[in-house]
Symmetry: C2
DNA sequence: CTTGTTGCAAATATTTTGCACCCAT
DNA sequence: ATGGGTGCAAAATATTTGCAACAAG
């Protein structure tokens, strides 16, 4: 479906900033983007947009269910397309690469852990920090870390 | 052991701000404190201390292994005593209460997940968001949320 | 037309840093 | 006495908000 119609179906006016931001995430080039990344990426390609608008649109998209916000330990929030399927993240502490993974068993144990304490689970954040083995990772193969 | 000696053993001068902050965490009244909480708590009890110093001391204590930093999804970092034993957190989304828990099985599955992808695990963050059933929780028993 | 949206600048919130003075060792 | 530690104020960083101009429906 074209981006224009996706927005209209959600009751959002199809404005230029919204279209460009949605297309950026749907292009799939970079799945995890912070507000600043979105702003820079669009500005570079000649799209004139305000940083405040980026923040506003990202928040709207999150509420509309198009995007999901993630808070990794680096101080800035990143957004990714909400595929509907839940997944957690593995983050390389050396190069910042993000990998996604799903683990039914972990999910099940989390639910059990909350229920055992009479809580009702509402959501969760699981981020594994690790060293990756990508060829361009600055500390690849460095067993010392 | 008295706080003064704990600090000296770590090569830290036993200054007033450091002692007061260490004692606050060791009093155990509140396990999870943000910089602002520490500042307010000490100021109220008549301890004259600068907020910048609180931030500096918390960072030093973290590096020294006395404290551990946690980033929940509320934008501010909280610190807790580093007991040596790893644990994860359950956070009530209604009243902010924090509960700690350990789950060997989840830990084991996390390690397996990263190893399966040829990463080397360095650390992780797991925070379960839930509704608690404490008598003073503002939305206790509210099944709608 | 009308209401929601945008860009800009100013405001917030959290944390860090420069610097002159102070104090634990 | 001296080098690290502190308080204050200013800077840095991330995000939000007020407001007048603007544009989608």
């Amino acid at each position: 479906m074209q981006s224009v119609y996706k927005l209209k179906l959600l009751g959002l006016k199809a404005t230029m900033p919204r279209l460009k931001i949605l297309e950026l995430f749907e292009s799939g080039e970079e799945r995890h983007l912070a507000a600043e990344d979105v702003y820079r990426s669009l500005t570079i390609t000649g799209v004139d947009i305000g940083l405040a608008t980026v923040y506003r649109v990202l928040t709207q998209f999150e509420h509309a269910g198009i995007l999901q916000r993630q808070n990794f330990d680096n101080g800035k929030a990143v957004y990714e397309i909400n595929s509907g399927e839940h997944h957690d993240h593995i983050l390389c502490v050396d190069c910042g690469a993000v990998e996604e993974f799903q683990d039914e068993e972990i999910e099940r144990l989390q639910l059990a852990a909350v229920q055992r304490r009479s809580f009702r689970l509402s959501g969760h954040t699981l981020c594994l920090y690790a060293h990756c083995e990508k060829t361009d990772c600055p500390r690849r193969g460095d067993k010392a870390c």
